[in-house]
């Protein structure tokens, strides 16, 4: 059980990077970026392929650059060519499937056999003892989170936040929304790719289907975290992504361990959680409306 929760913690921190990317694209920029699934695989494919050829450390910035490029394509499609934002993500995602196969040498998966990874390198330093993988995952995620929050307080960061908050205002102020959307999506996808890159080296493998559902799972993590921590401030929002992701992986581990339901059923549960959480305001309004109608009928007027 300890082993399972340790693994859950590690995966929680690693996948938290993808949840944080969604915090940036979905919560701050108000764009549902469907590039995420393919971008996650892109990150792991680049990372595993490079690590296999002996460059585990170089693999990380390379994967992030690849992710950034994917984000740029999506942003270019929507800001310059007028493709609706959801469709832009889907189109890029589709193209990424081929790109990912290409990165892995036209194979559906790539693996690391006895190659060094950032995790084995970190283990050799002896920091964190038997928890070294969790320490590295947590450090990477927390550092990224801190950098993200610092960035969002800069002039450029403020402009990106305003773009998602009030488009009318941005148009009338000296901010170019095409530029801020592009920067925002590039950063978000670099973070998603970083998540994929770390997970790839952690699991010693990349798989063409490894990113399926990352977008919905990431949103679920975000929603779980926000339910607990709230999302009033930026720091709480970023913390929510991390906390939610760890909790999600713990739930996953419990389901796996206790077998209270088949693990495959978790996807359906996740989908329902996300749908319900996003539908919550509508459901609340509908209930209030029905109550109001019932009250009128009872009052007889």
């Amino acid at each position: 059980m300890l082993y399972i929760s340790q693994t859950a913690l590690e995966l929680g921190f690693l996948y938290a990077l993808a949840a944080m990317a969604l915090f940036l694209s979905y919560r701050i920029l108000d764009i549902a970026d469907l590039t995420t699934d393919g971008c996650f695989v892109l990150g792991s494919a680049v990372s595993v392929t490079l690590a296999a050829s002996g460059h585990p450390i170089l693999a990380i910035p390379a994967a992030m650059t690849a992710g950034m490029a994917a984000g740029f394509v999506t942003a270019f499609l929507q800001t310059k060519l007028g493709v609706p934002s959801i469709l832009a993500g889907i189109v890029t995602n589709m193209g990424l499937y081929t790109m990912n196969l290409m990165v892995m040498g036209w194979s559906a998966n790539a693996s690391l056999l006895k190659s060094e990874t950032i995790f084995t390198l970190f283990e050799e330093t002896g920091i964190g003892g038997s928890w070294n993988e969790a320490v590295l995952a947590a450090a990477a995620t927390l550092l990224t989170g801190i950098l993200l929050i610092l960035f969002l307080g800069t002039r450029l960061g403020l402009s990106i936040r305003a773009t998602g908050d009030n488009m009318d205002m941005v148009r009338a102020s000296s901010i170019n929304p095409a530029f801020t959307i592009t920067v925002g999506l590039c950063i978000a996808n670099a973070m998603t790719a970083l998540s994929g890159a770390m997970v790839g080296q952690y699991q010693n493998a990349a798989d063409i289907n490894g990113g399926t559902g990352i977008v919905v799972i990431g949103l679920a993590c975000l929603i779980i975290g926000e339910t607990i921590l709230g999302r009033r401030t930026l720091i709480k929002g970023a913390m929510a992504a991390i906390a939610g992701s760890v909790i999600y992986r713990l739930i996953y581990a419990v389901v796996l361990y206790t077998k209270i339901m088949p693990v495959q059923a978790l996807r359906l549960v996740t989908a329902v959680i996300v749908a319900l959480a996003i539908a919550f305001p509508s459901i609340k309004n509908w209930i209030l409306f029905e109550k109001r109608k019932a009250a009128t009928r009872k009052g007889g007027n």
Partner: protein, 266 residues
């Protein structure tokens, strides 16, 4: 200062819904001019503002500001020197960002060349506080609060401050007090007077209040059918009454001035 030469704009050109919103309009404003604009519904007042601000490019004619041709300059580049307020007080500020952050965004205009990675400095904060206290609304003590918590009037006053904090070359006011209650509207209008006078900002203001149109500023423009049908200033304007204005409109266009809100507020 501002020079519009024969500008025209037709929406949905080449379709059955083609509508000419502005046709061959020319206008010259001198530095420090404050002109009010009135006109019926659909006269092209807001379209004129959109054309000047760059929400779209005009089909014909040219626009220059301070000797610089801005006809094909995109909207976000023009907003470096054109400030704008809308009727909807929610349009000018970002609700989930704090007052301080909103002001920092507005302050971006002045900071050409500053690093995009620089943060709000102590000095900026002191300056923002000073500016906010001029509004006399107690907002200087709420700088860390999200703007979404403010009332419509407070948000509009803040937007006005943000638009003029770095004095723009031209300020466009599109019925910016129309959606506020009378008390708040008076306050925002008073602030508008003070700020434009203090900074000597060239200003165009759309209003539906005829009295206001004749009292505020130094010049009154009457628009109809995408053009300017009356342009009065100085001595002539001082003696003009609301009734004269209505009569002049009828003489110029052969119609009554049919802006429902104008009739209600005169």
């Amino acid at each position: 200062m501002l020079d519009l030469k024969h500008i025209s704009k037709t929406f949905n050109l080449g379709t059955i819904n083609a509508k000419t919103a502005i046709s061959g309009l020319s206008l010259h404003l001198d530095a420090g001019d404050f002109a009010t604009i009135i006109g019926s519904n659909g006269a092209g007042k807001s379209t004129l503002f959109n054309a000047i601000a760059g929400a779209f490019y005009v089909d014909e004619g040219s626009i220059s500001l301070d000797g610089k041709d801005i006809t094909f300059l995109p909207e976000y580049r023009r907003s470096h020197f054109i400030g704008r307020l809308f009727q909807d007080p929610l349009k000018g500020t970002a609700p989930s960002m704090t007052i301080e952050e909103n002001m920092a965004l507005a302050y971006l205009r002045s900071s050409k060349g500053a690093s995009p990675f620089s943060r709000i400095s102590k000095k900026d904060k002191v300056f923002f506080r000073e500016q906010l206290s001029l509004l006399d609304m107690g907002l200087e003590d709420r700088m860390k609060q999200p703007v979404g918590l403010l009332s419509g009037g407070q948000r509009q006053a803040l937007t006005l401050l943000m638009a003029t904090m770095v004095p723009p070359k031209l300020l466009l006011l599109d019925e910016h007090t129309a959606a506020l209650d009378p008390g708040t509207a008076g306050k925002v209008l008073q602030l508008t007077r003070e700020i434009t006078a203090r900074e000597r900002i060239t200003c165009l203001m759309i209003t539906h209040n005829m009295k206001q149109a004749l009292e505020l500023g130094s010049r009154t423009l009457l628009m109809a059918d995408g053009g300017i049908v009356l342009d009065v200033s100085g001595e002539k304007r001082a003696h003009l009454t609301v009734e004269d204005l209505l009569a002049r409109f009828k003489a110029g266009t052969g119609r009554e001035l049919d802006n429902d809100r104008i009739l209600l507020s005169t």
